[in-house]
Each structure stands twice: as structure tokens, then as C-alpha cells.
């Protein structure tokens, strides 16, 4: 990585536009960006594309981009609110179960002749209620979100089976299912990925540009100090869990349309892939740091790896999990090293600064 720049705030002031680089030349900004975790992920994506092309000439084709990205839509959607939740140092493990409950509810409502639009809306409401339940237990109940959402992981999945049992529904209106695996106009961009793209922008603005986002970082980095600053810690967490529920329910609707099948057993284990993407994207599992941009890149990386390995005939698909696991460990190790390096550099710089500027003497210091 570059030697000459790296603002000390590069990994802590996570503005995607590099607020710390303001006022310096484009070269310096570029070098600063190169020191960031996101840049590493980008390199890995390129490496994966090269390797993927070597494995199979189909890898960089339209079809493979479409199927590869489609398969990742739901995980990608759920990773967005999860990013915010993990930055506040909480977690939501129930996302895939909310997705399943939403899918099951959709099936049940459709079987009982509820029209499509109210069906979808009711699914989203159900997702909001699931999130509210999680959020209330965490904020009002004062329980650790890890324990709460392990519980609701089982609870919501169980409810999905209660709603429709082993049945599945496949006769959704074709206009809706066509949308599920259709493209935007004549482009190669799937509709569902367009939905994700819009939400990703919204979440990025929310996290990096809004009052709400400032509070999220403060809570994650030091909840007590945030509370002492008048930030409504509990309310913000509650809202995040509700958002997570709604987006997971939306993912449930989308996966049902995309597969033309709604059932209680969809999305098993998706929560772990989503968390893997968030952590791989440079979000600290202890809260306080991370960017939406990093997570989006990590999602691309994971999707690319999956696609590359699944196209190969000689490599067993079991390797997908091995590679994902190895990347995860690397992603926990990597930012740690990067931030340690940045810190050492910043400290050296501060020290030099302190020597250069002796403390001013007292007299003329009236404020």
C-alpha cells in the first residue's frame, strides 16, 4: 500500500467520499483510498474475475452475471440493515427466518385469495412486527441481541412452518413472477438487483450522510458516551431492528417471486452468509466502524467466488464454503492490521506535531 498518505481517520471517519482527503491533491486522495479496506476487496474481486475466467470462459458472460447476481439478491438485501445493526455493536441472526416467515405468509395469504398487493404489504408489516419483537426484547428487555435473535431465529422459522407446514405455493400471477427474474428494460441488470441498488444508495446516505448515521457510529463506538450526549440509544436500535425486519420480509417476497415458489424452508443459513459479507466488508463486529460501500463490494466478491467455483467442473462446491471461511478469517485479521498500521503512523505524526508546536503560554489565552 502507499507510503506517503493515509489520513489517520481513514478507517474511522468512514465517509465514502474521503472527507479526510479534502483539500489535498487527487494523487494523495487516491493513495489514501488505496490504504482502505475497500480497495483490498476490489483487488480480490478482480483476482476472482481473472481466476473465474480461467476456470470457465462463461464466467464473464451476460448469463453468468445475471444468474450469479440473482442468486445473491436476498443475502445482499438483508446485509444492508445488518450492516447498520452490527455497527451499533448489536446483531440480528433472525433475518433468514423472517424471510421464511414472510414467504410462508405470502403463500398462505395467496391460498386464501388475498390479492397480490395487500399480500405483499401484509408480509412487510409482519416483518416489521418481527423486527419490533427483536428490538423490544433488546432495548426494553435489556437482553443481548445475540441471545434474543438466536431465539427468534428458531421462533420465526417455526412460525413459518406453523403457517403453511410443508406445503408450497407456486401459482403466483405470472406478471409478478416474471418481474422476479426479469431485467430492467433491455439491460442485463436484473430487476431485483435494481431494487438492491436503490436500497444500497438509501442505506449509504442514511449511514454516512444523516443525523441517524452519526448516532449509529457513536453508539457503536461508545454507547455510554452516546447516551451522555443525549442520543436516544434505545430508540435508534429499535428502529434498526424494525428496518431489518421489513427488509428481510421484502427479501422473502422477492425470493418467492424469483423462484415462483413460496415455502417455509427457504433461505436456510442465509443469515450467516449475510453476516459474512458484512464482516468481510470491513465492518467491525465490535461496532463503531464500517461502510456500506465495503459491504456492497464484499457481496460482489462472495457472489463472484460462488459463481466461479460453481462453474468449474473439477472443483467441488464444498470449496465455496472453505474459501468463504478463509476470507472471513482474513477479513477479521486484515482490517486489524491496516488500522494498527494507520494508528502507528498517526501516532508518530501527532508526536512530531507536539514537538513542533510547544504549548502556548498562558497570558494571551483568553477565550
Amino acid at each position: 500500500m502507499s507510503r506517503n498518505s493515509l489520513a489517520p481517520g481513514a478507517d474511522t471517519a468512514p465517509a465514502p467520499d474521503g472527507g479526510s482527503g479534502a483539500g489535498r491533491g487527487p494523487l494523495a486522495r487516491l493513495a489514501s483510498a488505496a490504504g482502505r479496506w475497500e480497495f483490498l476487496i476490489l483487488l480480490l474481486i478482480i483476482a476472482t474475475c481473472v481466476a473465474g475466467q480461467a476456470i470457465s470462459p462463461q464466467f464473464l458472460s451476460r448469463a453468468s452475471f445475471m444468474t450469479g447476481s440473482l442468486d445473491f439478491t436476498e443475502v445482499a438485501l438483508m446485509a444492508l440493515p445488518l450492516t447498520l445493526i452490527i455497527i451499533t455493536a448489536e446483531i440480528d441472526l433472525s433475518v433468514a427466518s423472517v424471510l421464511a416467515l414472510s414467504s410462508a405468509l405470502m403463500a398462505w395469504l395467496w391460498m386464501h385469495d388475498v390479492p397480490m398487493v395487500p399480500t405483499v404489504l401484509l408480509c412487510l408489516v409482519a416483518g416489521a412486527l418481527c423486527g419490533l419483537f427483536n428490538g423490544l426484547l433488546v432495548t426494553k428487555g435489556g437482553l443481548p441481541s445475540l441471545a434474543v435473535t438466536i431465539g427468534t431465529l428458531a421462533l420465526f422459522r417455526g412460525l413459518a412452518y406453523v403457517v403453511i407446514g410443508d406445503q408450497s405455493v407456486t401459482d403466483f400471477p405470472t406478471a409478478w413472477t416474471d418481474w422476479g427474474f426479469g431485467m430492467v428494460g433491455t439491460s442485463i441488470l436484473p430487476n431485483t438487483i435494481a431494487v438492491f441498488a436503490v436500497l444500497a444508495v438509501i442505506f449509504a446516505v442514511l449511514l454516512h450522510g444523516s443525523r441517524f448515521g452519526r448516532s449509529i457510529y457513536a453508539i457503536g463506538a461508545n454507547q455510554e458516551a452516546a447516551y451522555f450526549s443525549g442520543i436516544k440509544v434505545k430508540r435508534i436500535k429499535l428502529i434498526l431492528f424494525v428496518i431489518s425486519g421489513v427488509v428481510s420480509a421484502l427479501a422473502g417476497v422477492i425470493i418467492s417471486l424469483r423462484n415462483s415458489t413460496a415455502a417455509a424452508n427457504v433461505g436456510q443459513g442465509f443469515e450467516l452468509t449475510a453476516i459474512a459479507a458484512v464482516v468481510l466488508g470491513g465492518v467491525s463486529i465490535f461496532g463503531g466502524r464500517g461502510t456500506v460501500g465495503g459491504v456492497v463490494l464484499a457481496l460482489f466478491l462472495l457472489a463472484a467466488i460462488q459463481k466461479a467455483l460453481s462453474l468449474s467442473e473439477s472443483i467441488s462446491t464444498a470449496w465455496i464454503q472453505v474459501v468463504t471461511g478463509a476470507l472471513l478469517i482474513g477479513s477479521v485479521l486484515g482490517p486489524n492490521l491496516v488500522s494498527r498500521m494507520n494508528e502507528a503512523r498517526a501516532r508518530a505524526r501527532m508526536r512530531g506535531d507536539a514537538q513542533a508546536r510547544p504549548p502556548t503560554t498562558s497570558q494571551e489565552e483568553a477565550v
Partner: protein, 507 residues
Amino acid sequence: MTEDATLTVPILELDHAAKSYGAVRALREGTLALCAGEVRALVGENGAGKSTLVKLLAGVERLDAGVMRVDGEDVDFHSPAAARAAGIAVIYQEPTLFPDLSVAENIAMGRHPLRAGRRIDRGVMRRDAQALLDQLGVRLNASRPVRGLSIADQQIVEIAKALSFEARVLIMDEPTAALSGPEVERLFTVVRALQQRGAAVLFISHRLEEVFSICDTATVMRDGAVVHDARIADMTPDDMVRRMVGRDLGALFPKEDTTVGEPVLVAHRLTRENVFTDISFTLHSGEIVALAGLVGAGRSEVARAVFGIDRLDAGHVEVEGRRLPNGRPAAAMAAGIGLVPEDRRQQGLVMDLSITRNVTLTVLRRLSRLGLMRRGSERRVAAEWAERLQLRHHTLDGPVRFLSGGNQQKVVLAKWLARTPKVLMVDEPTRGIDVGTKAEVHRLLSRLAAEGLAVLMVSSELPEVLGMADRVLVMHEGRLTAELSRDEADEETVMRAATGQTHEAAA
């Protein structure tokens, strides 16, 4: 300094010891000797350096300079275990025992008597423990679990534990702070028994009557140095208080004369069970009111409750005639209150965030439009306050973690002043910051009051209290024991009220 009984070599001796934490010289001059059978008092104001001295003796910290001797031989404790091996035991105010283990197991911890096959010999363990407790003359069953024992009983267990590894020096750090009258008496009986056995005891207490009833000699500390060493018989309580606080005030505290304005904040009979009781006071615009008292008197807790961090069990706060809802910091802020908390690193700042982000944390609403932050305004506000408070920094985008303590405190002040509050509560505003910045903070507070701010300053430093305050409220064990005007307040009136000798302080 009197030097009698020099015939015997002291068990433990500290000679010209010094210890600094960064730029703060916590202990400048520590000289102290403990002889067998001696009970010595260590007294001084908060921050005089007593705790630092104890940490050195206990092996928790190492000396920067000076010498420590045990039985006349130089020693250097690398760890608490080394101090313990040399026969030094510390009994802390809050005992650190394993609640689910029995008294005997706690006493034997780490040195359990063993039988064949390295199995613990419970019989021997229990008998030994019971014998120790009986020697101390206390009725405690060695087989019962520690959970449920009173603090006083737990201290006895700690003492028994110390004796079980043949400690010859017992350092008791405010052991009586949480004890009732009869419990104190029983502890004193135990201390006398220890004395009979030839142990040396270093007794730290803020309660002078205890010092005078149990100790033979006293070491008085002030500003990180031992300033007096004498036999108790040769001193009076007044004399001791004077030596604890006596120093030049004045120049360091540039208090501007202000005209006291309208009442801004009224506290009505605030009560939080077991923390503070029936606290009433009024803050006027333009005045600095100090809340003085010893550590643990409940001062910070009052400030936290006024701000809504902790809930009140009774009473309420009014700001400009409007009653604040209980337990809502956001509401207190909206009413114009700010709180610079005691624990800067945990409560005052988000250490990993930048200076800008910290300063603007309290004014997010003002700096946003439709929920979106205006980056230019954010930077401008941070830069403006950094300039006004003479913040010494490299970049406003660097984490506050890298700043010195004094500059960190300026960031905390900036984030509250950015709200232009009507009432600012500052809890130990200059703790752990260097002298230069300290004076800057004092000047700033004084100036703000002159501009009409009402300031409530919680402080454990008497010079700060006396130098800065227009009015001094003194707390002792959760109650207000005195309200003193600037003229009435001096070292002695404040210290008397702070140690609970109210009859003389009620001027």
C-alpha cells in the same frame, strides 16, 4: 519530622519515592516507615497521592525514583504477587472475594492444603481458617459461603486471608467507608489484635475521629508529597486538617467578579435511594456553584440525576420554572443543561471518533437539514470551537484518542458549549490534566459565568472549589451538610462539612 523508635529496623520503608502518569506527577515525594506493632494513619485530600503510594507498596505500580526497603533490604516489586511474598497485604474498601466459595476456600485460595494425590484437604483447610478467625476474635463460620456476608465480614475474611500467608504489613484503604458504628468497633478490635501479633498497619481514612482513636502515628500528604510525619499524641484534629489543605490559593484561579442573575435551575428535594437524600439547591445565571465533598459522597450522582442519566426516586428539577421529566437526558439538553461527565474516556467522548464528530455529537439536529448532515457546517462548528478553546490538535479528522488529557477535556467542553447551554454541570473538570490546561479551563469557566452561564462544578480539589466558586455546597454521605458563601468557605469549613462535622460548619 520526628524520628523516634529508631532502634528497630522498620519492616517496610519508602524513601523519596516518586511516580508519574504521563505528565501528571501523582507522587513527588513519598517517605514513610512502618515498624512492627505500629498503626500508622495515612491522611490527605483526594488526589494528594495516597492511592499512588499504596499502589507502589502493593506492587501494582513501580517506582520511577526512590527506594523501597523491606527489613532494611532494597526491594523492587514487579507484581502484586511479589509484594505479597514479602508479607505485604492490602485490604481494599470493596473486598474482592469469590462469593460462591466458602469462607475457608477464599482464605486458602491459591495455597490449598493438599492430601495424597493432590486432592484438596477440606478438613485441614476448614480447621485452619476457623483457627484464624477465632484468633481475630470474630464469630464467623468458615464453612459458609461468602455470598450474603456483610462488607464488614468480608473485610475480616480478607484480613484472615492476609494473615494466612503471614502478612506482616496490612494496608487498609478506607476500610471503614462502608461500615456501621459497631462494625467499625469490631474492625478496630481486630486491628489491635494484629498490632499485638507484631504486624504493622497502614490505615487510610477520611474520618479523623477514627484516625485519632486507633492510630499511633500519622503521615500527612498534600499535592503528591508527604508533608508531615508525627505521633498522633502530638497532634490535634484541627492541626491535621490544616496540614492536609494548607497552601497558597489565589493566583491560579482567575475568578472574575460577576453579578448573580435570575435563578435558572432549581433542584427540589432530590432523592435517589441509598445514593443521596433530600438535595435541594438553586443555580443562578452568572454564578459558579461548587459541589464539594469526599469521593463517594454522592456528588457526581446528583449531577447525573439532574441531567437524567439516572432516575430520581423523589424530588424534581425545574429549569426556568419548567419541570424536567425524570430520567431523560435529551429533555434536559433541550431545556439547556449540559453535563461534562467525570469519566472523560468512557462518558465524555467517543474515543475512536474524530474531533469533529465528537464536537458535533450534541448539535446534530442543528447541523442537519431534513435529517441529512451538512458537512460544511459540521467542519465549521468544530473548527470554530477548536479555535476558541485553543485546542492543540493536528487534524480535526483524527480520533480524539490521540489527544492529551487536557485537550480531550477541551473537546468535551466544546461539544457542550456548542449548544450554548444555560446550565453547565462539570464533574471534576480538571482531573488528570496538566497545570497549564487546568488554568485555561478555570479561566474559561470563569469567563462563561461572567457571560451569564450557570455553572455547577463538582470538584474534589479544595483549592479549585475555593478559588472558583461563588457558593459552595458540601455533601457528606449523600446529604447536603453545608451551603457556604464565598466568604464563609475556607479549607476548614469545607473539610469539616465534608467529613460530617456539621455542627461547627453551619455558619
